[in-house]
Amino acid sequence: MNRDQSMVLARLHLGAILPLLEDVAEYDPVVQEAISGWNFALQFRLAGGDPSTTLVFKDGRVTVQRDGSKGFTPALTFKDAEFLNEVFQGRTQKSPRPNLAGIFKARQLMQLDKVLGRLEHYLKPQPETLADPETFAFCVRLTLYAVAFGIKEVGEHDPEVRPIVLELPDGTVEMRIVNGPAAHLVVKGGRFEAQRGPAEKPNAILEIADLQTAWDTFQGNIDTFGAVGSGRIRLRGLIPLVEGINPLMDRLAYYLSD
């Protein structure tokens, strides 16, 4: 992975994966217990400040701010993208450097590995995790959001796919699972806004027939063209918008394949 690609992966970790802690904190008792009583913000940032993501812990919940935070905020600074990726992929024992405010939160930060580890628990689940239908449904939902957020990061920052993105028509594409969750992407002038939930007025719809098909699709275990032909995946509306996003999903899979 070259330097540009490492930076894209770092953006994916901060922009597509870390924000899912909002959902995990709502669902997972382990995280809920760990963060109970936490009432502070914690910024994750690359040296220089871009990219950065701030997790705001309050009353047992987590919310995410993408534009950083101001003031005396505890922060973890990663010296470069490669190091950030190693930390998120669990490939190093070293830890990012906390700032002065972060040092005051040392006790909580010691628990952070456990909290972040729950992200991997649901995003790269073991078979026994998936055996529980409710947890399986949650894993699918979490992955759907990761895909939506990830498309934004890859689409906006990966030089390899920028020529594709610049040809995309403006519009909103909704990705939804029948009787399940939805996410949507607003595309405008080569920029993306990714949101959980259905779109108010989508220009294109990618509808997956069920959770299992969605999971197989996200894991790359399905011939998507075959699935579209068989009706397990339905495309409607402004198809070029979905077609244009498809290679971004492939690219996302490339980055997250490790």
């Binding site: 519009g171 294109a204 495309l235 070029p240």
Partner: protein, 415 residues
């Protein structure tokens, strides 16, 4: 329920597709892929065809407005064309050598098309557009190609969009894109790359998917030709889709300009596999230096079929008839739209028409409409221009308009 209101189902198509998807990538690939229509609402496999109609493997019969995506121009199983092909087959087809029929066909094209001094043959339209690019580069000793955004020239890497499997940015290193009908932009790009541009390639008019067809603005082609001549740029007309549906002399003549190279396929042989590139004598030397060939490129049966097709197109006044039938269809659809309060936009020449609902920018209504028409017995593609053949008769168009009326009622109810 009347016969025309019977809705088709596609159980056998879907079942066969399931099997296919386990042993063929994508089940059905390329432009035949059901992913490009509305999967589940369209047939996937054809069983038989005759005239302007075909029957799918579920036994559903359709009046065909895609004509095999263009090749069928005189009707499926046209007896004149098929007899010429079978007569040739009885003599020779794919041998060690081309046959006399190759020279006859080249002579025929050179006589027919005003700017043609020579002809070269392949199998698919994409063979010829790529060949034309090579000829232009050989002739000019330049690398860069200008093409128009949205125009389809086949599946070679130089003309396939990034994002499709295996296409890399380097494939497009020497490809420059311009917008249709924008002479100023073309001139600017030529200025920026003066002395480096081998060719400009475009379709005769803007026949894109997911959009209205746009005819050339007055003076567009003449301005493009003037700039190309001044700058030593080879002007390539990709007439693969429209060739021999607008004019027997080719679309260059139809739109009043003189391309250096013209690519044909589709309608040239009524479904027999052959394509052709014709060119001006100035490029013949360069053309002879390009090594471009294939196992079946000298097959004699398709060449005999092409000769018969061209003759039959002339003998029967097919061009005029396709125009008349296309006009009848488009006028009928507009009238239906008016009757049901659905504003309809038609575009393109009548022989290659397209229709969509004016307010329906995202094609949701269009997808519903075309699926409903198809389920009643007329095959309308929701996103691609349609094709009229000389086998379409007034009664076929009227039957289709009945299907369209029923479908418009459904659209009206559901939107």
């Amino acid at each position: 329920m009347s016969k025309t209101e019977k809705l088709y189902s596609f159980d056998k198509s879907m079942a066969l597709f399931e099997e296919a998807a386990s042993i063929i990538p994508g089940g059905i690939y390329g432009h035949f892929s059901p992913t490009l229509t509305v999967p589940g609402s369209f047939p996937y496999y054809a069983a038989k065809a005759e005239g302007c109609r075909y029957t799918d493997i579920d036994g559903n019969e359709y009046i065909d407005y895609m004509c095999g995506y263009g090749p069928m121009v005189l009707g499926y199983r046209n007896p004149v064309v098929d007899k010429a092909a079978m007569d040739q087959l009885a003599l020779a087809d794919c041998t060690n050598h081309p046959g006399e029929v190759m020279v006859k066909l080249a002579r025929r094209l050179v006589e027919l098309i005003p700017t043609a001094d020579w002809a070269f043959f392949g199998k698919n339209g994409g063979d010829m557009t790529t060949y034309a690019i090579l000829v232009a580069r050989a002739h000019t000793n330049r690398k860069k190609i200008i093409r128009v955004r949205g125009h389809y020239h086949g599946v070679a890497p130089w003309c396939t969009a990034l994002g499709f499997g295996g296409i890399i940015p380097e494939d497009h290193m020497h490809i420059l894109m311009v917008n249709w009908n924008d002479v100023d932009e073309f001139e600017k790009v030529v200025r920026q790359h003066r002395g480096q541009i081998a060719a400009f390639i475009a379709q005769p008019y803007h026949h894109i998917n997911f959009g209205d067809q746009v005819m050339p603005a007055p003076g567009y082609w003449q301005a493009i030709q003037r700039i190309c001549r001044e700058e030593g740029i080879v002007l390539i007309l990709d007439d693969v889709r429209a060739g021999f549906r607008l004019s027997m002399k080719g679309s260059g003549d139809y739109f009043g300009f003189e391309p250096d190279l013209i690519c044909y396929c589709k309608a040239i042989a009524n479904g027999y596999p052959i394509s052709a590139c014709v060119g001006r004598k100035e490029l013949m030397n360069a053309a002879s230096k390009v090594f471009f060939t294939g196992s079946y490129w000298a097959s004699q049966v398709p060449m005999a079929a092409a000769l018969a097709t061209l003759q039959e197109l002339e003998n029967t006044g097919a061009i005029e008839k396709m125009k008349d039938m296309g006009t009848l269809l488009m006028e009928g659809l507009k009238e239906l739209g008016h009757r049901y309060g659905l504003d309809v936009t038609t575009s393109g020449p009548p022989a290659l028409p397209f229709m969509r609902f004016t307010e329906d920018r995202d094609f949701f209504w269009q997808q519903l409409f075309c699926a409903e028409v198809t389920r009643r017995g007329s095959f309308f593609h929701p996103h691609h221009n349609w094709f009229i053949s000389a086998a379409h008769e007034k009664k076929d168009i009227e039957e289709t308009l009945n299907h369209a009326e029923a479908a418009m009622k459904v659209v009206k109810e559901k939107i």
